[in-house]
Symmetry: C2
Subunit: 339 residues, 2 copies
DNA sequence: ATGAAAGCGCTAACAC
DNA sequence: GTGTTAGCGCTTTCAT
């Protein structure tokens, strides 16, 4: 339970022969201290291996130097073994590494709305919410409590909110369609997920707009994110029954891998009869046979922007968002045709 | 910066017409309050949506309700995009989910020894350290500060330390060897990693002891964890040059996948000429052609034990460790021979 | 059974 | 330039 505390600011003050205020000022670079005292105090503190208690400091400053990370879409996977969804684990890694570089700690908060509220949840300096859902309760909570936050991808329910960053989906989706067309596709199917997040909503809108402008008849299928590969496989059969298209674009690598299995089972050759691509890369796209063309998301670039946005919000600066980062479409065998 | 705080215990006290002490007692179930007051205060607190400030509470109790998670071997990968090392990401997920169930938050702490020390690092209630290295500086820091911790796998430098849990490596390694033998293997090679952790040290010892008892000549190869697939591929060539064995057991799925590539390049058929298996499962083992036999680690079971051990340590109870959990060897095409 | 008050370790006014 | 002191919000004796 209660652990014995270590060295306090008083110990350092006593040893350095100054007041606690002097120590505080010396270590924080605040106030008006003589350079000599400042240096001496710092030396003593260093020597004693003194570390200011984060709780006491946080209580005074109302700022703990830690942010929360809510893995929205990870929760929705139901289980915590997100096989193949390495997109999100890469975001976790990128964010924690970058946050540490800035002297921020990262706290994993699966769901701060769940009672009882996790202890530190409401004391964190800010939050990064991954892929907020429509009417996301976490966002509502943060908003209600006045806690700063930034989101990965826009909040579909709040068009005015600008503290978000994401890969420029409209651009790279367009690139995929053009790639399909350039390889002779006349009909393209979109397979999206069911979570009510920007990713699903916006890409369908992009697709429909694109169909509109090219005169193509839109065909949109849905499969729940958590259904993973088997969901994709099931949909593949439906797609074949409805009429084999020239190309299929799936949201996740898992779905694409499942679709590939389904198509193959029905004797539909990929890429010869139908081309296939995924809008997010994963082990599945890389290791399928044939390997599946996919959009490579650059997590590090996006999370860097998210941290910038969040820190600006915490500092009370005006929003510089939204930020759109670039992603690269990597063509693999599943959509490579040799005319 | 400093965020305006929410409702405090004083607000609740005022509204309920009692003292702050009464509120504290009512909400914590401590002291000697009349049932009536207790209930009334709780109702008021509930109604006001009051949440005790974790920082102030932590300052008094010297306990914040949060634990740290140090991904030792993940750091050693150098970059934070652990492709194929889904073992660790699964541990992250399992631990954070289980910790939340117990009302604990999980803080990701890449390296608490790195200066400047991350703010809350020294204020956390305890730590779970994944795969500590020999003379691990993180363990040394925790030890020095008197912070409770439990480790995934034993600390190779501290035989007396018992607060650890791991999959029962000796048992399942034996099972793999027996499987190889049963399928006609006369010579078996072990490919391990280079990190000085229990995983590498103990499995080599198990292997050598097993060779000793069966009269087989031990052949141990090493490849740095961070070298991943290409490391395995390189080693495969060396192994072939040294003489093709009947079976190869690799530590990681990435290494095994690389070895498979290397063997195939040299015309060594798997599993016909040489069988292959990995001691930890990953996307690589599942998606390679042929799929690679692998030991499936049950992260959830092990992390549950780790949390129990840690909480016992935090509560000052005697250690109930070490805990050995079971793992299952899943035979796939890479070691399945049809006689 | 309840309230008043003393701190937990720190920062920031405010004196000197 | 430096020290004294009043809290941050909470828990916990100790009176009453």
């Amino acid at each position: 339970m209660a652990r014995s505390k270590g060295i306090t600011i008083r110990d350092v003050a006593k040893r350095a022969g100054v007041s606690v205020a002097a120590v505080s000022m010396a270590l924080n670079g605040t106030g008006t201290l003589s350079a000599a005292t400042r240096l001496r105090v710092r030396a003593v503190a260093e020597e004693m291996d003194y570390q200011a208690d984060a709780l006491a400091r946080g209580l005074r400053r109302s700022s703990v130097g830690a942010i929360g990370l809510v893995m929205r879409s990870l929760d929705s996977l139901g289980e915590y073994a997100p096989r193949g969804v390495d997109v999100f684990t890469r975001y976790i890694g990128a964010i924690s590494a970058q946050a540490m570089d800035r002297g921020l700690s990262v706290m994993l908060v699966p769901d701060p709305t769940k009672r009882p509220t996790p202890p530190l949840a409401l004391s964190l300096d800010g939050y990064i919410v991954m892929m907020p859902h429509l009417d996301d309760p976490v966002v509502a909570l943060l908003e209600r409590r006045g806690i700063p936050y930034a989101t990965l991808a826009r909040d579909p329910g709040r068009p005015d909110f600008t503290d978000w960053a994401t890969e420029d989906e409209a651009t790279y989706f367009g690139r995929v369609y053009e790639h399909f067309i350039a390889n002779g596709a006349r009909s393209i199917v979109l397979l999206r997920g069911t979570d009510p997040n920007a990713w699903n909503i916006d890409s369908e809108a992009t697709y429909r707009a694109w169909c509109e402008s090219t005169g193509m008849t839109p065909r949109v299928y849905k499969s729940a994110e958590r259904a993973g590969e088997s969901g994709g496989e099931t949909v593949a059969h439906t797609i074949v029954d409805d009429g084999i298209p020239d190309a299929i674009l799936c949201h996740t690598g898992r779905q694409a891998a499942g679709v590939l299995v389904g198509l193959t089972a029905r004797g539909v050759a990929v890429p010869d009869r139908t081309m296939l691509a995924a809008a997010s890369d994963s082990e599945h796209t890389r290791h399928s046979r044939p390997a599946i063309s996919a959009v490579e998301l650059h997590a590090a670039e996006t999370t860097l922007a998210l941290l910038d946005l969040l820190q600006a919000r915490i500092a009370g600066e005006p929003s510089a968002g939204p930020v759109l980062t670039t992603a690269r479409f990597r063509v693999r065998a599943s959509s490579r045709r040799t005319h």
